[in-house]
Amino acid sequence: MMKDWEVVIGLEIHAQLATRSKIFSGAATAYGAAPNTQACLVDLAYPGVLPVLNAEAVRMAVKFGLAIGAQIAERSIFARKNYFYPDLPKGYQISQYELPIVGRGALEIVLDDGTTQRIGITRAHLEEDAGKSLHEGLANATGIDLNRAGTPLLEIVSEPDMRSAKEAVAYMKKVHTLVRYLEICDGNMQEGSFRCDANVSVRPRGSEKFGTRAEIKNLNSFRFVEKAIQHEVARQIELIENGGTVVQETRLYDSDRDETRSMRSKEEANDYRYFPDPDLLPLAIDRAFIESVRASLPELPDQKAARFASDYQLSRYDAGVLSASRETGAYFEAVVARVGAAHAKLAANWVMGELSSALNRENLEIDASRVAPPALGGLLERIVDGTISGKIAKEVFEAMWSEGRDADAIIEAKGLRQITDVGAIAKAIDEVVAANPKQLADYRAGKDKLFGFFVGQVMKATAGKANPAQLNDLLKAKLGGG
C-alpha cells in the first residue's frame, strides 16, 4: 500500500552581487569578456597577493538582511574553504562559515490556494565565486577562465520549510524578486547570476524526523528547480517503497534527460578544513552603517503589493503580479496616473493582459515596451469615456504597438470611434433582422442562443463599432417585440 509521503525542501540560493568590481580585488565583474581578461593578480592567486574586502558587497548583503528582517552581525568572520580545483586559484574559497553577516530572517510566499506560508531563512553569507573550466573547442585539454573568480556572491540558506516543488519555486521567485528590487543582483539566471542548490528529502506524513537528504547542485532556472525536485522526490519515494534507502549525496540535474544523477556521496565529500582567513580581519559593522543602509531601502515587494491591493482595490493576486518587479509596479502606477485610480482595475487587466502578452511575444522587458505607460493610459481613457469598446481597444493597442502612434490618432485614422447613436444602431438592427427571417422565426420559437448570432451580425455590419450595451438593449427590444 502506498504511504502518504511528505516532501521536505530547503534551498541554498547563490545571488551574484551587482558590484562593479570583485569582492576581494579591483578587477571588473562584467559578464562575457574574453577569458582571463578580467582577472588580476589577486584573482589569479599570484604569490604574495592579498584580499581586500569590497565595501559595496557588504552594503548589499546588509540590504538583503534588513529586507528579510534578519539580524545583521556586528562582527562576522571570513573563513577559508579548502579544496583543490583548477578553477579555484588559491586552493581555497573565501566564504563565511561561523558568524555569517546576515542571521536568521524570513520571507512569506503565497500558495496556489491563496494562503501564505512563512519560509525561514537560516542565514546569508558573503563569499567569492570560482572561475570556470572550459572544454569546448579544446582537444585533450581543459581551459580555465578566471573572469568569474572572485565575483561576490550572497549565499542565502533557507530552513527546510518547503513542502513541494511548487513551494520551492514560489520561494525562489520571491527571493529573485527581492534581490532585483534591492538592486543587489541582476537576477540573470542564464548567465548564472542567480542559481540554487536544493536539499530534498521525503518522510512519512506525520513523522517528526527528517529523511536522508540529497543535494541537487546548480539549478539555474525556475523550471529546472521544479522538475529536478519533482524527479528527485519520485526517485526517493520509489527507492524507499522498493525497500531501499536514500543515501546522503550530491546529485546533478540533467535537464536534457530530466533526471538527477549522483555526483558524489557523503563519504567522498571533501573535508573543507574551514578556518578563519588570517588575511582578513573580522568584519565589524556598526549601528550607524546599518541605519544608513536601512534608510536607503526601497519599497519592498510585499509592501508594494499591500499598497496596490488597498489603494487600488486590487485582488491579492493582481497586486502580487503587478509588484513582481520594480519596473512592472512603476509602469502600472504610471498608467493609473493617467487613467485615474478609479480605473485601476482596468489598468491592471491591461498591464497583465494585452501588454504582458505583447512583451512576451517579443521577449521584451517592460521598461523596453513599445507602448509607454502614458500612451496605454490614453487608450484606456477612450474605453472609459465610451469612445471605443474594449474589443476595439485591443485592435487599437496592436496598432499602437506596431505603429508607435497614440490611441487617438489611430482611432481617427481608422474610423474606429464607437457608434453610440441609437438611430444608427437601430437601423443596422433593422437591416440585419430583415435579412434573416428564418433565424428570427427560430429565435422567437425559443432558440435563445441565436441572440448571439444577431449581435455578431450587427457588429459585422457596424465594423465592430456599435456600443455593445446599447446594441444589447436595442436588439432585445427588437427581437422580443416583433
Binding site: 604574495g48 597577493v49 586552493g91 578544513r273 588575511d279
Partner: protein, 485 residues
C-alpha cells in the same frame, strides 16, 4: 675605513658630499658579492645590471637636489619579496622559474626611497626552517664559521649583512626568522609589530604571524631602513593605520627610568655562558639608567607547540595555490589532474615544507580542529594576555634570542623537533604580534650571541632607542667576522 664597513648615515653623507657615487658604491658591493658569495651562498640571485641602473638613477636624483637617508644605498632583499621582473624563488624549486610580475610593497617603498637592490637573498624554503638548510639553493654558510649555519629562515639576508655584502637587508619573521639569524650572525635584526609593515607581495607562510623587518649592523642603521618600509598599506587588510614615527630622531633618548623586565621563563635553565651574556647586558642597561626586574609569563613555554599548530595550519592553506596550474613548477607529462597536483607539489616542495603542510592539514581536519587549532588559538590568546599584563609593569622585556650559538650545518636537520626548539625565545612575540629586536651581546665559543628586547605594540622606536644606547656603550655590533672586516 673601507666603504662596506661604514654605517648607512656615513654612506649617505659620503654620497651627499660626492665622495663617491651610488654607482661606485654599488659596484664596490657587487665586487664584494662576486668575491665572497661563492663561499657563503647568501644570495640566490645577483641583479648586477639592474643594480647599476638603479644606482645611476639614484645619482641623478641626488644631482637633481633630492635628499634621503637611503637614496643610493644598496641593499639585498630576502627572496620572499616579489620583485618585478626578477626571479622570486622563496628558496623553493616550486618557484625556481617564477619571475614576479610586480613589486611587493616593501620593495616598492625602498625603491621609492632610492635604495639600490643588489640581489635576492637565500632563505629556508618558504621561510620554513631555522638554519637555512631547507633552501632548494643549498645552505647558507655563517661568515663567523663557514661550517656553521647562519640561522633561518632569513639566513641569506643575515649572512650577507654580517659579511658586509650590503649595509642592510630585508627579512621576514614568522617565529624568529629575523631575530634568530641576526643573533647567530652577530648583527642587529628587528621584527616590527604585526601590521606595521605591509605583507603585500611577501609570499605568505603563516599570514597571522608573518611580519617583514630589516637586518643591519646597528640599531641606528635599522632605524633608517625600518622607517622606509613601515606604514599603512590599503592592499594589506591586516596592516595598521598608525603614523610612522621618525625612528632615527628618537635613537638618542636617555634610558633613565626605563623599566626592563627579565622574562623569568627565558632565564630559567639557560646555558650558563648564555646566561652570563644576558646578565652582562642587563648590567649595561642598568648603567644607562634603566631599572630592571623579573617578570613571569607562565604560558610562554607553550609557545612552541602553539606555534607548530597555528603556523602549519595557515601554511597548509597558503601553499595550496602552488598547484602547477598557473605558475611555478609543473611536473612533466601529467596523466590527469590528480597526477598534475600530486607530482607538481610532490616534486616542487622540499621535505620540511611537506611536513608542515601535512601537519597543518591534519590539525584543521574534521575531528581534530577543536583539539589542535582551536586550542592553539586559545593558548595564543593567553600568551598575548600575559604579555599585555607584563607591559603594565615594565616598558620592555629582555632575554636571550637563542638557546645556543650557531650550530653545525647538518647537525639538526634530521631532527625537526630539536630544530624547532631553536625558536623557543622568539616565537612568543609572533604569537602576540609584538615588536622585538635582537642585537649582538657577546660570544660563546667564538660565535656571536644575541640579546632580545620585546616591546608593546608599536614600540619600535623605543626598542631601537634602547639598543642604540646599548650599542653606544658596547662594541659587540662593530666586530666583524674574521675575513669580512
Amino acid at each position: 675605513m673601507t666603504w662596506h664597513a661604514r654605517s648607512i648615515a656615513e654612506l649617505a653623507n659620503a654620497l651627499e658630499r660626492r665622495e663617491l657615487s651610488s654607482v661606485e658604491l654599488t659596484r664596490h658591493f657587487l665586487e664584494r658579492i662576486g668575491a665572497l658569495n661563492g663561499a657563503l651562498n647568501a644570495l640566490i640571485t645577483v641583479t648586477a645590471e639592474r643594480a647599476l641602473a638603479e644606482a645611476a638613477v639614484a645619482d641623478r636624483r641626488r644631482a637633481a637636489g633630492e635628499r634621503g637617508p637611503l637614496l643610493g644605498i644598496p641593499l639585498i632583499h630576502k627572496d620572499i619579496f616579489c620583485t618585478d621582473g626578477v626571479r622570486t624563488s622563496c628558496g623553493s624549486r616550486m618557484l625556481d622559474n617564477f619571475v614576479a610580475p610586480y613589486d611587493a610593497t616593501v620593495v616598492a617603498r625602498l625603491k621609492a626611497a632610492g635604495a639600490v637592490m643588489l640581489g635576492k637573498a637565500n632563505m629556508d624554503e618558504f621561510a620554513m626552517g631555522s638554519s637555512n638548510e631547507t633552501s632548494f639553493y643549498g645552505p647558507v654558510h655563517n661568515p663567523w664559521d663557514l661550517d656553521k649555519v647562519p640561522g633561518g629562515s632569513s639566513g641569506g639576508s643575515a649572512a650577507a649583512v654580517a659579511a658586509r655584502l650590503a649595509p642592510f637587508s630585508t627579512g621576514t619573521d614568522t617565529g624568529g626568522s629575523i631575530r634568530q639569524p641576526a643573533a647567530l650572525s652577530g648583527i642587529t635584526g628587528i621584527k616590527p609589530t604585526y601590521g606595521r609593515v605591509s605583507r603585500y607581495g611577501m609570499i605568505a607562510f603563516a599570514s597571522s604571524l608573518d611580519q617583514a623587518g630589516v637586518f643591519a649592523r646597528s640599531a641606528a642603521d635599522a632605524a633608517i631602513a625600518l622607517g622606509a618600509i613601515a606604514g599603512f598599506d590599503p592592499r594589506d587588510s591586516t596592516s595598521v593605520d598608525v603614523p610612522v614615527p621618525d625612528y632615527a630622531a628618537t635613537l638618542d633618548g636617555p634610558l633613565a627610568g626605563l623599566r626592563i623586565g627579565l622574562v623569568k621563563e627565558f632565564s630559567e635553565a639557560l646555558e650558563p655562558r648564555n646566561g652570563a651574556l644576558i646578565a652582562a647586558a642587563l648590567d649595561v642597561f642598568r648603567s644607562l639608567g634603566a631599572k630592571t626586574t623579573t617578570v613571569s609569563l607562565p604560558s610562554l613555554p607553550l609557545s612552541v607547540p602553539t606555534y607548530y599548530v597555528v603556523a602549519p595550519a595557515e601554511c597548509s592553506s597558503n601553499l595550496s595555490r602552488f598547484d602547477g596550474v598557473r605558475f611555478g613548477y609543473r611536473c612533466t607529462d601529467p596523466k590527469d589532474l590528480r597526477d598534475l597536483y600530486e607530482r607538481s607539489r610532490g616534486e616542487g616542495f622540499g621535505a620540511e615544507v611537506k611536513r608542515r603542510i601535512m601537519t597543518g592539514t591534519y590539525v584543521l581536519s574534521a575531528g581534530y580542529f577543536d583539539a589542535y587549532y582551536l586550542k592553539a588559538q586559545k593558548v595564543r590568546q593567553l600568551i598575548a594576555g600575559e604579555f599585555g599584563a607584563a607591559f603594565q609593569q615594565v616598558d620592555l622585556l629582555i632575554g636571550p634570542t637563542t638557546p645556543t650559538p650557531a650550530f653545525g650545518i647538518g647537525a639538526k636537520i634530521d631532527d625537526p623537533v630539536t630544530m624547532y626548539l631553536n625558536d623557543i625565545y622568539t616565537i612568543g612575540a609572533n604569537l602576540a604580534g609584538l615588536p622585538a629586536i635582537s642585537a649582538p651581546c657577546g660570544f660563546v665559543e667564538g660565535l656571536p650571541m644575541g640579546v632580545q628586547l620585546i616591546g608593546p605594540p608599536f614600540s619600535e622606536g623605543r626598542l631601537l632607542n634602547a639598543v642604540h644606547r646599548y650599542q653606544l656603550a658596547t662594541d659587540w655590533h662593530d666586530r666583524a667576522a674574521p675575513g669580512y672586516a
